[in-house]
């Protein structure tokens, strides 16, 4: 490989835990050009290197930590790392993105990607320091909370800045929705923490001095200045900094975009009250998740006094607070913040955790669970005192926690008695705090998202329908969202195809999607890439790469046995809410999901019956050489 890749370190680290070997490998310029990095390169590697049907918690699974040329501190949104793996939650495509310093620091350590394979026979952690890597004994980390582990890890390098990602107790216990934590930030969803725990890998610590020099410094500098100005001038960046993602709570509740009581309704009526209390009592200041983030959506919060006293930490994201309020009918933000903090400390995905507790409460309501099975706990709606206890039980797989720790699909199978009817998931991934009864595009994205029922992978359908955002994609054929009513169904399948192809780019480029909410477009990303790599790349080509990656992830899932049947939403999510402001609003329900899927598959060029990409689509996207046929 004589071609030099600019803008990358051009190296990846392959760590084989089974035989304790570590290799530095060059990255293939052709592959890099085709998939760029992040979840794109992750999809290419995992499709190539994983055998279908493997146990996600077995030795043969792999964890890919992936950056891209844009994972740099100076790039808006560049403080980012994506992790790709076969998900123990879905048995399909798994990916998580985490904001913070880890991505840029991995590049400073000398690598674009880390590939972790095999399993260590004893707990270890990986240290990467300026191009050198070693596995060290991690016995002293086992059983500790995330903050303790992080402190211990970073004390290895007291003189220099370093970044750590680690699992918590939930990852050690192989909880299927365990996350990988980087400080208070999480690579949540899909169970990456369990995969890491199954490998006996406690943590990764990176530090280094490597610098990436742009291929065209002057062009890069001009383009960067332009992109930074776009963000600065956009009121969304002000909004994020002022209110954080929790700022969505009042309007989501009002608009029927707030799943309530395990999705029995899509609004509660307490959104503004909880938000006001939070602002008054818990919010301290904004936080940038990495050095120099221009958006600063993070919140520093605490609970000052009382039963749920919680130290200052970064938290209180919209999703995390919603699942510990509306989902479980708790209206005390102190409790929700405390629960969010506990999830961070135990290394648990907040969304799946809250969803599991809501599911358990409904099981209790319907006498599928009783006090005998719950060990005396009364899983009554709104019983907020229970929540911290249950989070601990799930993390340690203690009592009823052991059933809940495997996710809602398996829990419903084990409990039976019709509980699968209110096990809200797609492909095994529990639903987050946005409701397609607020806007139908979200229904399509929930059904067809490759990692399962996710509001943001790769696109937030409700932001198109309600927020009327287009992220600059009208240039590529997206219809102006103002032309649709949020409850229209016809046309949404077609729009979601373009939305997904465009909005997967921040995940491929391992940057933060919020930059696109603040005005950054595919053309802007392309301009930064051109300056860094010297490639002549356009927004149009980026969109094609996006389509390629979405299709490759789909093919990964197909190979694991997924098909059209796995793209359907739970019935409850498409039905009239059982109470609340939209109880008598039949327009909000999804009337013909089959038609939505048909339209989506047609736009994608996929087989209508199976949902599989056709041969012609595979060839069009240049995927033939990368997959078996």
């Amino acid at each position: 490989m004589s071609e030099v890749i600019k803008g990358y370190t051009a190296k990846q680290l392959r760590v084989s835990l089974s035989d304790n070997t570590i290799k530095t490998e060059p990255t293939d310029p052709k592959v890099i050009r085709k998939y760029l990095g992040g979840v794109g390169y992750g999809a290419y590697l995992l499709y190539k290197e994983l055998i279908p049907g493997i146990d996600p918690l077995g030795e043969k699974n792999k964890l890919i930590f992936a950056t891209s040329p844009l994972s740099l501190y100076k790039i808006p949104g560049g403080g980012s790392i994506t992790v790709c793996f076969k998900s123990p939650a879905t048995n399909g495509w798994g990916e998580s993105r985490c904001g913070g310093n880890f991505g840029p620091d991995l590049k400073a350590a000398g690598f674009d990607h880390i590939i972790v394979e095999g399993k260590s026979d004893k707990p270890v952690y990986l240290v990467i320091n300026d191009g050198q890597a070693e596995l060290k004994c991690a016995a002293h980390l086992v059983g500790k909370n995330v903050s303790e582990k992080t402190q211990l890890l970073k004390s290895s390098f007291p003189e220099v800045a370093s970044s750590a990602m680690c699992i918590g107790i939930a990852g050690e216990q192989l909880v299927k929705f365990a996350s990988i934590m980087s400080g208070d930030r999480a690579a949540g969803r899909c169970g990456g923490g369990a995969v890491m725990g199954s490998k006996n890998l406690q943590a990764i610590l990176v530090t280094g001095t490597n610098k990436i020099l742009p291929a065209e410094p002057s062009l890069f500098k001009d383009n960067l200045r332009n992109v930074t100005q776009v963000i600065k001038n956009n009121p969304m960046s002000t909004g994020f900094k002022e209110y954080g993602t929790i700022g969505d709570m009042p309007s989501n509740d009002e608009d029927g975009d707030w799943p309530t009581k395990n999705w029995q309704s899509n609004s509660w009526g307490k959104g503004i009250e909880i938000f006001d209390q939070f602002q008054e009592n818990n919010f301290i200041t904004f936080k940038r998740c990495y050095k120099g983030c221009p958006v600063a959506c993070g919140r520093i919060v605490n609970v000052d006094t009382g039963k749920y006293k919680t130290p200052r930490h970064e938290g209180a994201e919209y999703e995390s607070i919603s699942v510990f309020t509306a989902y479980v009918m708790n209206d005390d933000p102190d409790v929700a913040i405390h629960c969010d903090y506990l999830c961070n400390e135990y290394g648990l995905d907040t969304i799946s955790c809250g969803a599991m507790i809501a599911f358990a409460m409904e099981c209790y309501e319907k006498d599928i669970l009783d006090q005998e099975k719950t060990g005396g706990l009364e899983l009554i709606w709104g019983n907020s005192g229970l929540l911290p206890k249950l989070i601990k039980m799930i993390s340690y797989r203690d009592g009823i926690g052991d059933i809940l720790a495997d996710g809602v699909r398996i829990a419903a199978q084990k409990l039976g008695s019709g509980s699968d009817e209110f096990a809200i998931h797609v492909k095994g991934l529990e639903g987050p705090a946005h409701d397609p009864r607020s806007g139908k595009a979200l229904g399509v994205t929930y059904g067809t998202g490759n990692r399962g029922m996710c509001h943001i992978q790769p696109v937030e359908g409700m932001a198109y329908d309600r927020g009327k955002m287009d992220w600059g994609l009208q240039e590529y054929g997206l219809t102006d969202p103002e032309k649709y009513d949020r409850w229209d169904e016809k046309g949404k399948g077609k729009e979601v195809k373009i939305l997904q192809d465009g909005m997967v780019l921040p995940d491929i480029l391992s940057t933060c999607k919020f930059m696109m909410y603040a005005g950054v477009t595919l053309n802007h990303w392309a301009s930064l890439l051109t300056g860094l790599t010297g490639w002549d790349i356009t927004g149009k080509e980026l969109l094609k790469i996006g389509e390629r990656v979405v299709n490759l992830q789909r093919l990964f899932n197909m190979r694991e046995g997924f098909s059209r049947k796995d793209d359907y939403l739970p019935k409850r999510v498409m039905e009239t809410p059982q109470f609340g402001d939209y109880h008598n609003q039949p327009d909000c329900t999804i009337h013909d999901f089959d038609a939505l899927l048909d339209e989506y598959y047609n736009a994608r060029g996929w087989d209508k019956k199976s949902g599989e990409p056709t041969i012609s689509k595979i060839e069009e996207l240049g995927l033939s050489e990368d997959i078996e046929q």
Binding site: P235, F240, G247, N252, G467
Partner: protein, 92 residues
């Protein structure tokens, strides 16, 4: 003085327009702007958006001018100032 108001996002549905001008007295402050909004639009703004007792926006509404958030009710406005108002909605 004349103040130009730009309304975007979800707030559009309550004001039923995206831009309009209002006339305030020469020494008007942000508080006076809120009084004006209360007088003319209180019936159109739901309690989740507008605090009727305090006569100001409630919750995550951004009021800004020249890329700066206006927070101090005593801040003096100036003639032909452009003020953007929107209710924050993002994602995440």
């Amino acid at each position: 003085m004349i103040i130009k108001i730009l309304v975007s996002g979800i707030l559009k549905r309550y004001f039923d327009q995206t831009s309009f001008q209002i006339v305030l007295n020469d020494n008007a402050t942000l508080r006076d702007l809120y009084e004006y909004i209360h007088e003319h639009w209180v019936e159109c703004l739901p309690p989740s958006i507008w605090n009727r007792d305090k006569k100001k926006f409630r919750g995550p509404v951004i009021v800004m001018s020249e890329q700066r958030v206006l927070k101090n009710d005593d801040e003096k406005l100036y003639n032909e100032q452009i003020i953007n108002m929107f209710r924050f909605i993002s994602g995440g």
